[in-house]
């Protein structure tokens, strides 16, 4: 039984839950958000990814109501929310520092938002219990925030922000404070809770792995602009710019001038010869282009293999052994370094490539992405 793929962004009949329309936000002379247009759909787990200072936090704070756009409009469920104060929005936020109220118990922290809008004690109590159960915090209800661990605090913050059943939940670097192991477990827990509650999540993160894991779509941002919005696999395999290719994961960039050699096939004249690449994106002859190719798509050989699309010779400069993977840094005659990655699928294999060895690297013509900028 095939499940329908969740992809409202491909459906022209879907109305987005959030619409950023030509939003600009300036702080004095500094432009934090630059003419940004973006749609986010209901039930999405949307990630804003970028280096610090790229404007992702500003976008989130505008959604929460702590900042207002200088220009343009932000719509939530069809309504312009500019000027609506944070306490009047059906949007809740999970803060990076968690911002748990230190003088209140876990129970009272979760009940805080509910008490602001209702005085029905039984209903509040039922909802708090439900949240405690969802986040597996029943045992800690009477404790104060300083009496529980970091992971538990993170769950309290989540429970508190979900208690009012917001249309939209904002998560500001929600897992930044957790150690690697706990973070991984929590990522799946977040996805699970998102699915259970059906709430739209917008997460801000600078951790690309986290964004790739949890998000249905990712917006890669740089200097107040959205560079690309796509599903994690599209972002990784079909980046639209060198910036995106470089920001997500590891990548080799080969620059040169292109020449069409066939249907969607181009020859790229690089420093050490010519490489062939397929591209849906059209290029004109003589245009400068960049071939972005992921290290795991570059094979490394001790002898020149037969029948490969692209083959270059070089010298091993460095080997990074990561356990599951080994990354070879191969220096081409011109000095450029290409990373080639192999999976260490066998435990007792002789790794016959070592430093200073002369090796061959190869990849297919569809392995890389040809980019014009």
């Amino acid at each position: 039984m095939a499940e329908t793929v969740f992809a409202p962004w491909d459906d022209p009949n879907e109305t987005p839950l959030i619409r950023f329309r030509n939003v600009t936000k300036r702080f004095g002379d500094f432009t934090a958000i630059d003419d940004l247009t973006l749609d986010i759909f209901e039930r999405e787990f949307f990630a804003l990814l970028g280096p610090s200072g790229c404007g992702k936090t500003t976008m989130m704070r505008m959604l929460a109501g702590f900042e207002n756009p200088t220009d343009g409009s932000i719509e939530l469920a069809g309504q312009d929310i500019a000027g609506v104060p944070p306490n009047k929005r059906a949007v809740n936020m999970m803060f990076q520092s968690y911002a748990l109220f230190p003088h209140l118990s876990i129970w009272d922290n979760i009940a805080f938002g509910l008490r602001r809008e209702s005085s029905d004690k039984a209903a509040i109590s039922a909802r708090v219990e439900e949240m405690l159960k969802l986040t597996r915090l029943e045992k800690f209800a009477r404790r104060k925030p300083h009496q529980i661990s970091g992971g538990q605090r993170q769950r309290v913050a989540l429970a508190r922000s979900l208690a009012k059943a917001p249309k939209l939940l904002l998560l500001d670097e929600p897992l930044g404070a957790l150690d690697a192991k706990l973070r991984e477990a929590t990522q799946f827990e977040l996805m699970d809770i998102q699915e259970k509650t059906g709430t739209t999540f917008v997460i801000v993160t600078h951790d690309q792995e986290e964004a790739m894991t949890v998000a249905s779509r990712i917006a890669v941002m740089d200097e107040g602009r959205v560079m690309q919005v796509a599903t994690p696999d599209r972002i990784y395999e079909a980046p639209e710019s060198v910036y995106v290719a470089d920001f997500i994961g590891d990548v080799n960039i080969l620059a040169g001038t292109v020449k069409a050699t066939g249907d969607h096939t181009y020859a790229l004249g690089v420093e050490n010869g010519t490489v062939t690449a397929m591209s849906e994106r059209p290029f004109s002859d003589g245009q400068t282009a960049h071939l972005a190719i992921r290290p795991e798509k570059v094979a490394i050989h001790t002898t020149a293999p037969e029948g490969t699309d692209n083959l270059l010779q070089g010298k091993v400069l460095d080997i990074a052994y990561l356990g599951n993977l080994s990354t070879y840094h191969v220096e081409l005659p011109g000095g450029q370094i290409i990373k080639a990655q192999t999976a260490n699928t066998r435990r007792l294999s002789r790794r016959d490539i070592t430093w200073e060895d002369t090796v061959w690297i190869s990849w297919t013509k569809t392995a890389g992405v040809l980019l014009d900028q």
């Binding site: 929460a64 109501g65 949007v91 911002a99 003088h103 602001r116």
Partner: protein, 272 residues
């Protein structure tokens, strides 16, 4: 524990002798049997008894206490409000000026504060009495409260207030339910500081009081001019006791505030 070197022992002893011997002598002589202040004639608590039957002193004590409680309470409310606006109000026009101005009374000579208040009260035709002393004390102790509270607010994690707003609280509710309980220790130590300052004050009270109201320090001052009596010693001892209790309470309060601040930080700490 570090062992102190002989030099340190000497300096410490000298310092504390300097600080506390005068007070110690006063306390000892308050239990002197003799009416002559400088001649020891055995232990007695009779001057404390005499003091309790001296209506003038008791009246002055009552005035002082009322002034201290009322003025420190008003000063705490005003000082907290001022601190909140200065720390939280964002970059409104003239903020730097206001921040500087709130500290000015701390370094202003009391004589000048007293004189200016006196001129003001005369100018607006306010009869001098308990009310004017309360107003004057509120004026000068408010900035102390403001300093204590604003230093606490500066280390206060702003996202706590934002979280309250985000969860639907009004700005006032966010202050009442989140900010105030967390900064309460600083507010309380501010109050205690204002209370102690008011209790101590002689100069400003002398300028702003009228015939109907005399505070205890004023009463002591005027009695001493007629000669020191053991009764004054007894009274001073009681005052020293009160001030000591106040200071200890205030420092415990701010210590607790610091501890609380540390705990908040840990709560909000990025690493668990």
């Amino acid at each position: 524990m570090t062992r102190l070197s002989p030099f340190n022992v000497v300096s410490l002893t000298l310092g504390f002798v300097f600080l506390y011997v005068p007070m110690l002598i006063l306390i000892i002589y308050s239990f002197n049997e003799s009416k002559l202040v400088t001649v020891w004639a055995g232990f007695s608590t009779k001057w404390y008894g005499e003091l309790l039957s001296n209506d003038a002193f008791l009246d002055a004590a009552w005035v002082t206490l009322r002034v201290a409680v009322i003025s420190s309470t008003i000063a705490t409310v005003l000082g907290t409000m001022a601190a909140y606006v200065l720390v939280r109000g964002g970059r409104f026009f003239g903020r730097t000026l206001f921040s500087g101005m709130i500290y000015a009374p701390l370094v202003m000579p009391e004589v000048i504060t007293g004189l200016s208040l006196l001129l003001l009260f005369i100018g607006i035709g306010l009869d001098r009495g308990v009310l004017t002393i309360v107003l004057a004390h509120t004026t000068f102790s408010m900035c102390f409260v403001s300093v204590v509270v604003s230093s606490r607010l500066m280390t206060f994690d702003r996202s706590l207030e934002e979280a309250a707003l985000d969860l639907g609280a009004s700005a006032f509710d966010a202050f009442r339910l989140v900010t105030l309980p967390i900064i309460a220790p600083a507010v309380i130590s501010g109050w205690l500081l204002a209370f102690t300052l008011s209790l101590d004050d002689l100069v400003i009270a002398s300028f702003t009081s009228g015939p109907s109201a005399t505070t205890l320090p004023m009463k002591i001052w005027s009695s001493v001019r007629l000669g020191v009596s053991p009764e004054i010693n007894a009274l001073s001892t009681i005052l020293i006791g009160l001030v000591t209790v106040g200071v200890i309470a205030a420092s415990l309060g701010s210590k607790q505030a610091a501890l609380r601040a540390k705990r908040d930080e840990q709560t909000a700490a990025r690493t668990a």
